[in-house]
Subunit: 385 residues, 2 copies
């Protein structure tokens, strides 16, 4: 299949590019390195350096003989996207091409403006490029579980059946996100749902939870093929940050009470889920929403797990609550459905103690490169800058 | 009170500017004439010419001695907005500054892109200008009843109490709009609700139905003070279009089956509603949503009413169904709440036969200026241009 991967240089975009190329698909991987630029501006460089796309693709081809077509360009530029779609004629598009940091989006006007503008334009351009140049193509879009926020009722899979005063209506599940970044994903979903109804697009919108880990089968072929591993306050996800804190002998920082509960997944399950979505395309005019996570944990539970395993490895892990820089519920109901991918055949990776120990070991290889100054929160949610 | 009116040159912005200046408020009226530019590009000029803001304000001052401060500039430009807010220090902002045409937003990529970009940026900039320069200011934002679409359950006022599997949650009423323009208002509401929660803005979001009429007390002082009256397919609202068709001897065009039902209001009630919102500001961190309409009619009912009154005046009105250029339900359940403004004291204008006859008479004064070529739909919802 001819697959266009937008945001192909990212934490998930690069492993996806390798995964699908390795499976024999014709992969086109596109990025403008926005995340790299932001990481460098905000002093949030990853744990180890990653070559840019053309070099990554060369190393990958040398390692396994498979080709990844690289295009460097900006998905927020419609002229670029038009030429790209006209040339590639994708059968599927995997759209990761967004500014992915919640704290960055809350830093001040410039960062918020960039996030809104970049993310909405990228999605809008994908929609229009499909309508104009590849109307039968299946769009697989990365949303986030964060779109739902933390409602006091069960989180269903994308939609909610409402009974009200004796009448019934199925709605998009009402969304209420906790950062501007997450809100841009809500707006993406609104936009996609509108154009699916009017122009019969084929869309799978993935509500993904925080991802952990950085080892995928393809990355094991060559160290330089590993994804960008962020542990900083800007791009680092919770578990990856805890792994680095445990290894570097700094306390695991719990924001506030630590009752914040989310659904997590292994990076290898991201690849599995996206592949399942790809293999099971939707009809024209259909928007399928899948909740993409495997297990729910609270921050406290996660800290305890990392501490237990780390202590067992002699790391002497400390856990410390710090004032919450975010505006969020720290103690709340959370029960989210995730049956869609199981029905499609997902064989989930469970976060066992062995997996945690393995990841701690992998991070320990880079212990000398950990910069502790990047870990503590540098952005406060309610400042106006 | 110091009131900033964004989009002050518009169908509602100009009458609002006069209304609040006449009541003794310090009014700052801001526009960049985007609607005029689009009207002229799309051959959709209004029934009679309207002077631009500086001249309008001069005529108004000559007529009643009250001043309207005029600023010509682009609300999608944050530098302009920063200077404006810093200088004016508004106590209230009335935000009408959006591309307001649904058909225009469905015309093609360029028009859709302009609508999304302009409308989101204007709202985003208002939010940030308030946070930075006037954090106590009350924002009154013009949304649309079109945000709700046509659900099969009652439309409540902004919010929906959901009971699900024995637990309860109050959500923003799920929105599902029928054009890209209406969808940008959904995105506005999402954005406002996010920043109200994180930054304690004070927001009233008005879900307004289609407005009819063009005579307000201030407009009666001088013909040149009348609002822009559009009857074309791009900017014309249903009743205004029917009035022009009846007067010009062309059939009232019903799109499809004509069962499309909406809540309508008199332009004088728009002024009353906005004033009630202004006089009853909300607390910091509160987002109030009010459904702003007076009476529900289906298109067929409205056509019948105009025909009955027109025939009585000797106009010999014909009604004709034409293929629907839009994608919308033509026969649907519709029952929307509008108690909020009644509780605040709204004394609604009812669309009586006398009011219809009066409006037909007013439009008849301009009969010679009606251009019939502008009335028929020129934009189809599901084309890709």
């Amino acid at each position: 299949m001819r697959i266009l991967i937008l945001g192909g240089d990212g934490y998930l975009g690069w492993p996806s590019s390798m995964h699908f190329a390795n499976k024999g698909h014709e992969v086109w991987s596109v990025d403008n390195y926005l995340r790299r630029d932001i990481a460098s501006e905000t002093d949030s460089d990853p744990l180890f350096p990653n070559p840019k796309l053309p070099e990554r693709a060369k190393i990958f081809e040398a390692a396994c003989g498979k080709k990844i077509n690289v295009v460097e360009g900006d998905c927020a530029d419609f002229e670029f996207m038009s030429e790209l779609f006209e040339k590639v004629q994708p059968e599927a598009v995997i759209h990761y091409a967004e500014q992915p940091s919640a704290p960055y989006s809350m830093r001040g006007f410039d960062e918020a403006s960039l996030t809104l503008d970049n993310n909405l334009k990228a999605t809008f351009n994908v929609i229009w490029a499909i309508m104009k140049y590849a109307p039968d193509c299946h769009l697989i879009k990365l949303g986030t579980m964060g779109e739902y926020g933390t409602p006091n009722i069960d989180i269903e899979e994308g939609w909610l059946d409402v009974e009200h005063k004796g009448r019934k209506q199925k709605f998009l599940y009402p969304r209420q996100a906790g950062s501007l970044y997450h809100t841009t994903k809500v707006l993406d979903t609104d936009l996609l749902w509108f154009y699916v109804r009017t122009h019969e697009l084929r869309v799978t919108d993935l509500m993904q939870g925080p991802v952990y880990g950085f080892i995928t089968p393809e990355a094991e072929m060559d160290d330089r093929l590993k994804p960008n591993f962020h542990y900083d306050d800007i791009f680092g996800t919770l578990i990856n940050r805890f792994l680095v804190q445990a290894v570097s002998g700094t306390p695991l920082t719990v924001y506030g009470k630590g009752g914040q509960t989310r659904g997590y997944l292994d990076i290898r399950d991201t690849l599995q889920c996206v592949e399942l979505a790809l293999k099971n395309p939707v009809e024209k005019g259909e928007m399928r929403i899948l909740n993409q996570f495997v297990e729910q944990f609270s921050v406290n539970e996660m800290a305890d797990r990392v501490k237990t395993v780390g202590d067992h490895m002699g790391l002497n892990v400390e856990v410390k609550s710090i004032p919450n820089p975010r505006k969020e519920a720290e103690d709340h109901y959370y029960n989210a459905a995730n049956t869609g991918f199981k029905e499609l055949g997902l064989k989930p990776h469970i976060l066992t103690d062995d997996v945690l120990a393995e990841m701690l070991g992998q991070v320990a290889d880079y212990k000398g490169q950990i910069d502790k100054d990047k870990i503590m929160p540098r952005v406060s949610w309610n400042k106006v800058a």
